[in-house]
């Protein structure tokens, strides 16, 4: 039995269903994940990663360390470009190398390179290479790939219907079906935008999404809008952003602002994130030109429950008051 370790961080929130199904469809392969982020994982990452790295990368280091002695391979693909336009943040491009040369005693890393600008079939080829490394048969690989695609398709369909990735993942992989409760009329609706590995990591985001829900606010995130609509969404900053997740966050923020169906926009940014400093500024400009209340919430390794809750409550109250005034006027 070969154990493949997939750290539950970064790309996990976007591609895990596909990866998991693919690996488990190959014979004699078992996927091991590092589970949800915990204090312990974060502490490990913080102590091993470069102090100047962004929080998500530190968290990733922590997840990798959790898997260190438990697996035969680590799966950390080098995803460069998937949409033939934008590339991922430089830290993603150098991710396998950072792990290999920044940490000691690592198991072998499967780091296939995926760049669809060079070849449209790059994704299939990458999976094929991975299959070959694990000595699977050609047919077996193809079948696993198709199944993986199907799982990913289902996952994305749920996202479009308003599910959040952790919930959608559980539904696709474990068949846990639950229907989303319909929003009661008059309820506030917020868009939470940001990188999936920040907003859906319940530990480092201090569970902002569920906190909002408990305050009676329904939440949509940058993972929910239909991909095509996002791709068509324009934003005006002279140039397109080069990094996929940043570009997507900015597009989502513009999409929500333009649609006008949300009462507020919250941008979750990570301490020490390079691209975010620019993204945040552009979202801010855009939200204010659409007169939508906007808050940017920066997350770091010490962000305390209390501080975040207070800020969220204040923001929710402010929006509620504003909405009330508008309805009365």
């Amino acid at each position: 039995m070969t154990h493949i370790g997939i750290p539950s961080s970064l790309f996990y929130y976007v591609y895990f269903p596909m990866w998991k199904v693919f690996f488990e469809e190959l014979k004699n392969v078992k996927v091991v994940t590092s589970g949800e982020t915990t204090r312990e994982i974060l502490d490990k990452g913080v102590s091993e990663a470069l102090a100047d790295a962004c929080v998500p990368v530190k968290v990733f280091f922590g997840h990798v360390l959790t898997l260190r002695n438990k697996v035969d391979y680590l799966f950390i693909p080098r995803i460069v470009c998937l949409n033939r336009k934008t590339v991922y943040c430089p830290k993603f491009l150098g991710l396998p190398d950072m792990i290999r040369y920044g940490l000691s005693d690592m198991p072998p890393i499967i780091d296939v390179r995926i760049d669809t600008r060079k070849m449209r079939s790059a994704v299939y080829r990458a999976f094929n290479t991975v299959g070959q490394i694990l000595q699977a048969k050609k047919q077996n690989i193809l079948r696993a790939y198709l199944k993986a695609r199907l799982a990913q398709f289902k996952f994305k369909r749920l996202l479009r219907r308003g599910w959040q990735p952790p919930e959608a993942m559980a539904a696709v992989l474990n068949g846990r079906k639950s229907n989303l409760p319909a929003d009661p009329p008059g309820q506030l609706r917020f868009a939470v935008v940001g990188y999936p590995y920040i907003i859906h990591d319940r530990y480092i985001s201090v569970d902002v999404i569920n906190k909002l829900r408990r305050m009676g606010v329904s939440v949509v995130t940058s993972d929910n809008p239909p991909p095509l609509a996002l791709r068509m969404q324009r934003y005006d900053c002279g140039k397109i952003l080069f990094w996929t997740f940043s570009d997507r966050t900015l597009r989502a923020a513009h999409y929500f602002a333009k649609q006008g169906k949300v009462d507020g926009i919250i941008h979750l940014t990570a301490f020490g994130c390079g691209p975010d400093s620019i993204v945040d500024r552009f979202i801010q400009y855009n939200s204010s030109s659409h007169h939508i209340p906007f808050m940017s919430l920066s997350i770091d390794e010490h962000s305390g429950e209390a501080g975040v809750s207070t800020r969220l409550e204040a923001f929710v109250d402010m929006v509620r008051r504003k909405k009330g005034e508008k309805m009365n006027a």
Binding site: G102, G272, S277, R281
Partner: protein, 370 residues
């Protein structure tokens, strides 16, 4: 009246002033970045923006105060934030109510039309294409002269007998190059400047440490942004070799032999096969090459939150171990102070000295043998 300004990058402003004047523009010189520049910049750009973005913002505000209304700068296609600087600056400045025109140069090979249009905008003297090319050639030569003189100071400063001689002479000879105008004058001035520098009384016996400098381009090229680290090192008896200059990379003959003509990219390949944007891969490749050339150490300079350099730093831990070459990194931001930097540098220099002595006594193998 249009008044043109541009970013301050080391001594290069001397060249750009000449070029823009030749094309018939009135130029507002960017001041050397200071505390005030940085404070101004910090107020108007996001907290986690990288240092170059903050310094440039401050510089623009200072030149706008002096009446500039056209800013010439470079764009770039990333994949790093630098390519977006101009857009952010434009947004912020317009938001503050400045009516300023931004002329953004993209790499001419990818955007030839943009290049021609921009040159046209900056050519009120309506020079012919031939004349423009002549001006650019002359400007390029001047840039090279400035770089060559700076390189000379890196070698001479650690050996100077009276401390401060090199810096003083450097200041003086820069003015010579500054006032040179024709091609012949520039060549002449460069020659005289180099001679003047080499005439500084030096101590040939001194044990000189050699340190390579790698990192992000702006903080490498603008001494004001790195707290004059090269001068500090020089005063501690360290000869520095910087891996980047505006006119290109150091092409020393010596390394062709010792490193078998290995390129920076090839040297970085085993550690980082991917081009990650910025100069992350160069930092790794150059460190490997410096190690192969038996340098005593490498210093990496990067703005705080600089993405590619953070990747590079993480990987450099291994390079440093594999080649047994000490690497010191400075992540610079508005809080970095000269005193703290000096302390860390002194410790680093001590470490290198001890190592060098051991190698001399054959107790340790040099870096190139790894």
């Amino acid at each position: 009246m249009r008044k043109v300004t541009f970013p301050h990058v080391g001594e290069s402003y001397r060249t750009f002033k000449m070029l823009l004047n030749d094309l018939g523009n009135e130029v507002i010189l960017p001041p050397r970045p200071s505390r005030r520049t940085l404070n101004l910049g910090v107020q108007h750009v996001p907290e986690f923006a990288c240092l170059p973005l903050k310094i440039l913002m401050g510089t623009y505000l200072e030149t706008l105060e002096r009446g500039a209304n056209v800013i010439v700068t470079s764009g770039g296609v990333g994949p790093c934030r630098a390519g977006l600087y101009a857009e952010v600056h434009k947004k912020v400045l317009h938001d503050m109510g400045y009516q300023v025109e931004m002329i953004v140069f993209e790499p001419p090979r990818l955007h030839p039309i943009n290049f021609i249009r921009n040159v046209h905008k900056l050519n009120p003297a309506r020079l012919s294409i031939k004349a423009i090319i002549e001006c650019i050639k002359r400007a390029w030569r001047k840039l090279q002269a400035l770089d060559n003189v700076e390189k000379a100071t890196h070698v001479i400063r650690p050996k100077e007998i009276r401390q401060g001689d090199t810096s003083r002479t450097y200041k003086k000879v820069l003015e010579w190059i500054d006032s040179a105008y024709t091609m012949d004058e520039i060549v002449e001035a460069e020659k005289a400047a180099l001679e003047e520098l080499h005439n500084i009384p030096q101590d040939p016996e001194r044990m000189i440490l050699k340190v390579g400098i790698v990192g992000e381009i702006y903080v490498l090229l603008e001494p004001a942004s790195n707290l004059e680290i090269e001068e500090m090192l020089g005063n501690m008896g360290v000869e520095v070799e910087r891996s980047m200059f505006l006119t290109g990379w150091t092409r020393d003959n010596t390394w062709k032999e010792t490193v078998q003509g290995m390129t920076v990219k090839e040297a970085a390949e085993p550690y980082l096969p991917e081009l990650i944007g910025g100069h992350g891969r160069d930092s790794i490749g150059n460190t490997v090459l410096y190690a192969k050339r038996n340098f005593d150490g490498v210093i990496q300079l990067a703005p705080f939150t600089c993405i590619p350099e953070i990747v590079a730093r993480t990987i450099l831990t291994s390079v440093s171990k594999d080649y047994n070459i000490p690497v010191l990194t400075f992540f610079l931001d508005e809080q970095t102070g000269k005193a703290g930097m000096a302390t860390r540098l002194e410790a680093f220099v001590d470490l290198m000295k001890r190592k060098k002595t051991k190698i001399k006594q054959n107790k340790l193998l040099p870096a190139s043998s790894f």
